[in-house]
């Protein structure tokens, strides 16, 4: 058995995981919701699963706990994950159930599969730990489950040389990026601190038409061909959530997950550590600028951040976590990401890769897959997350929120406004 300690960037994920757990949340768990337009026979599904289990490298990875540290291990054989078939059960109930189950799994695959049968539709729910893979990695796991022959290789070698001094030097940039940005915001918690206990998440799903999605994608490329789409989604989400965040909060800091991934790596997280751009947007911009202008501002900020080496600096600074006491590191991260400024979880993973080609429609046992939604983790107050992706040329949006903290009618409002804004864009 090959045991490796958690790598530095994974350590960052671990801190977030811990943070979420002590807030009553499930931890860094990711979920993928696949809708199939008919119900295949159970025997066929389980036959497919049996074949998949033997060859799925994700099923070789487990978490082990020692007194002070968690370790991920790669076994030399695959293990069977949690698999359940449900009839007439609510999706939200299973989603939340699985979140809680998977968050405390040791010595088991960090992956669970649920099949939820409802009338004439099958929902396939894939739940996995972020230590295992990021959102794209989850898509590739499903792609292999449905029989796609994607290369079963992965790369987790630590090619980058660790230099404590170099990382410390880069930490100065980190201070500029995150700590300085913290101080620019009002130190006001956007929501009253609640004694979070056994919180659960709710989700709302939006699938835009192919025509509208195509128009939006063409439109944003003219705004900025690199970051236009992501910037538009950030802008639109910010315009909505600022309404539910305390008006004393002057700035918004969005930890934007990015992945400098090797596109062929099936384990983006283990092989290509996740990093974050800490994007700061002033409230006055959100309120005063038009959606188009705000999108342009955000696109430019993203380009400037990448070009000025901010991402490398942030990434290096996150690696410092390996060298400083956990409590201090946690404090820095928590201060930067939790409650000091307005925030939200945000991700845009672009075309979903669950078939043979990214973004194209696919089938599951000869039945059409009609939708593919990601469910975001909710790591920052006020407890709302937006996840954008594209499947079958249709933009998919999932809004996820902490049920006990944000009333549903807020979300209904946000959803309908968001659709209106996108429809009125063209």
């Amino acid at each position: 058995m090959n045991i490796k300690p958690l790598e530095a960037s994974d350590f960052f994920i671990k801190i977030l995981d811990y943070d979420q757990k002590i807030s009553g949340l499930a931890g860094n768990i990711a979920q993928l919701i696949i809708k199939v337009d008919d119900i295949p026979k159970q025997e066929k599904v389980f036959k497919l699963i049996k074949q998949w289990i033997n060859n799925e490298p994700a099923l070789k990875i487990i978490l082990k706990r020692k007194i002070f540290k968690d370790y991920w291990c790669i076994l030399n054989k695959t293990l069977t994950p949690h698999i359940s078939w449900h009839s007439d059960n609510s999706l939200e109930k299973i989603l939340n159930l699985r979140l809680k189950d998977l968050s405390s799994l040791y010595n088991c695959p960090l992956l669970a599969l649920d099949f939820i049968e409802n009338k004439k539709e099958l929902t396939i729910l894939l739940t996995w730990h972020h230590i295992l893979a990021d959102a794209k990695g989850g898509e590739l796991i499903f792609s292999r489950l449905r029989g796609n022959n994607i290369r079963n290789t992965y790369n987790h070698s630590n090619n980058q040389q660790f230099s404590f001094i170099n990382n410390l030097k880069k930490l100065r940039h980190f201070r500029n990026v995150v700590i300085k940005r913290m101080s620019e915001g009002n130190i006001v918690s956007p929501v009253n601190r609640v004694n979070y206990k056994h919180l659960s998440l709710n989700s709302s799903y939006i699938q835009l038409s192919e025509k509208l999605s195509k128009n939006i994608k063409t439109y944003v490329k003219h705004i900025n061909p690199i970051f236009g789409e992501t910037a538009l989604f950030i802008a639109i989400s910010l315009k909505e959530i600022r309404k539910i965040i305390d008006s004393n909060v002057g700035n918004f800091l969005i930890p934007l997950p990015i992945n400098l991934r090797n596109p062929t790596s099936i384990f983006p997280l283990l092989g290509n550590p996740l990093t974050f751009i800490f994007l700061l947007v002033e409230r006055k911009y959100i309120e005063e600028l038009s959606l188009l202008k705000l999108t342009k501002v955000i696109s430019q900020k993203l380009i400037d951040d990448v070009k000025s080496d901010t991402i490398t600096a942030t990434n290096s600074a996150l690696k410092i976590g390996k060298f400083i006491p956990v409590k201090l590191y946690r404090y820095i991260l928590r201060s930067a990401m939790d409650g000091q400024l307005g925030s939200m979880f945000f991700a845009n993973t672009g075309p979903s890769y669950i078939g043979d080609t990214p973004g194209k429609a696919t089938h599951f046992l000869n039945h059409k897959v009609t939708a593919c939604f990601h469910r975001p983790m909710v790591s920052v107050p006020p407890g709302i997350g937006f996840f954008y992706s594209t499947y079958d040329y249709k933009i998919h949006i999932t809004i996820c929120w902490i049920k006990e903290v944000i009333p549903k009618h807020y979300i209904d409002n946000i959803s309908s406004n968001l659709i209106k804004r996108l429809e009125n864009l063209i």
Binding site: K221, H222, N224, P225, I226, F227, E229, T230, I258, N259, L260, N262, P263, T264, S265, Q300, I303, V306, K307, G350, P358
Partner: protein, 84 residues
């Protein structure tokens, strides 16, 4: 004196090598668009930074247009036109 066509070919070769070795880790079809190659926004920006460093050019924001960022050929032509 190197012609513009030669410069574009030189940029294209360097770009192809960068994409094959640093991004995709496999051989690629150079006739495909960046979208078709699975090059996402971060990868595209890394490509631009690579070209700026390698050929000592400055690709200003106004040059970041859909036409210039379509595929290897269009980006190579742009960079070739910027090389002094």
């Amino acid at each position: 004196m190197t012609s513009k066509k030669d410069k574009a070919a030189e940029v294209s070769a360097a770009l192809k090598e960068f994409i094959c070795h640093e991004l995709c880790k496999k051989q690629i079809n150079t006739n495909k668009t960046f979208d078709e190659l699975g090059i996402d926004s971060m990868a595209l920006l890394r490509i631009i930074l690579f070209l700026e460093n390698k050929f000592n050019v400055n690709i200003t924001d106004n040059l970041l247009t859909i036409d210039n960022l379509k595929d290897i050929q269009s980006l190579s032509n742009l960079v070739a036109s910027l090389i002094k």
